[in-house]
């Protein structure tokens, strides 16, 4: 079952514009991560934000986390054609015991040159 749900499911923007993707989840979490996937191959980790953090930056990426609303957003600034990929949020539920990272359905981003 999917814990997270990304919105929108597809996004098409012009190069240079900003892209914003949202993620909502159902249960309390330890942390939330964002991953990128090109052409249906392996996923690449982008950023991890812990439940006690509200905002995190990494290069052109900005992630926010609102645990009261059980939601997160990923902002990619000044997008490039090379940013074209699928983006997934992944949560680690606060259920105790061992880590179990579950993924959402993803946002497919197309950046048009």
């Amino acid at each position: 079952s999917q814990q997270g749900e990304e919105d929108p499911q597809a996004l098409s923007i012009q190069e240079g514009e900003n892209a914003t993707m949202n993620c909502s989840y159902k249960t309390s979490i330890n942390n939330l991560q964002w991953y990128r996937q090109n052409s249906g191959r392996g996923l690449v980790h982008l950023i991890l934000i812990r439940s006690n953090e509200r905002e995190k930056h990494s290069g052109r990426l900005r992630v926010t986390l609102d645990t009261s609303k059980k939601s997160s957003s990923l902002l990619i600034t000044a997008s490039r054609a090379a940013d074209t990929a699928s983006y997934f949020c992944a949560t680690d539920p606060l259920t105790g015991g061992y880590q179990k990272v579950t993924f959402g359905i993803g946002t497919k981003l197309q950046v048009i040159p």
Partner: protein, 116 residues
């Protein structure tokens, strides 16, 4: 420093057959998780291995089983293959950090399984 490696890259099987997929984790990692990703969907958690034991399992039938070896490498076995098992199977490795929640996952490139 080698990353996560998976083999084979592609595999074609027929219904009812059995398949074994293999994964070598990133150097220094002790935990291996397996995911199934159907076309157009997000990865679905199958199970996770740590210290040669399955310690977390997703909503997958017993036809899906696994193993972790002393060198931390892992295998995913699927018995009695169904058409619906066709998917990209991803292996991810990580390092256990007690009490801190999960750490980032490093993924292999996956095995594309087609069941005919």
């Amino acid at each position: 420093d080698a990353g996560v490696t998976q083999s084979p890259t592609h595999l074609i099987k027929t219904r009812g057959q059995q398949v074994t997929l293999r994964c070598s984790p990133k150097s220094g990692h002790d935990t291996v998780s397996w995911y199934q990703q159907a076309l157009g969907q997000g990865p679905q958690f199958i199970f996770q291995y740590y210290e040669e034991e399955e310690r977390q399992r997703g909503n997958f039938p017993d036809r899906f089983s696994g193993h972790q070896f002393p060198n931390y490498s892992s295998e995913l076995n699927v018995n009695a293959l169904l058409l619906g098992d066709s998917a990209l199977y991803l292996c991810a490795s990580s390092l256990v950090v007690t009490g801190a929640g999960s750490e980032k996952l490093f993924f292999g490139s996956g095995t594309q399984l087609s069941v005919l």
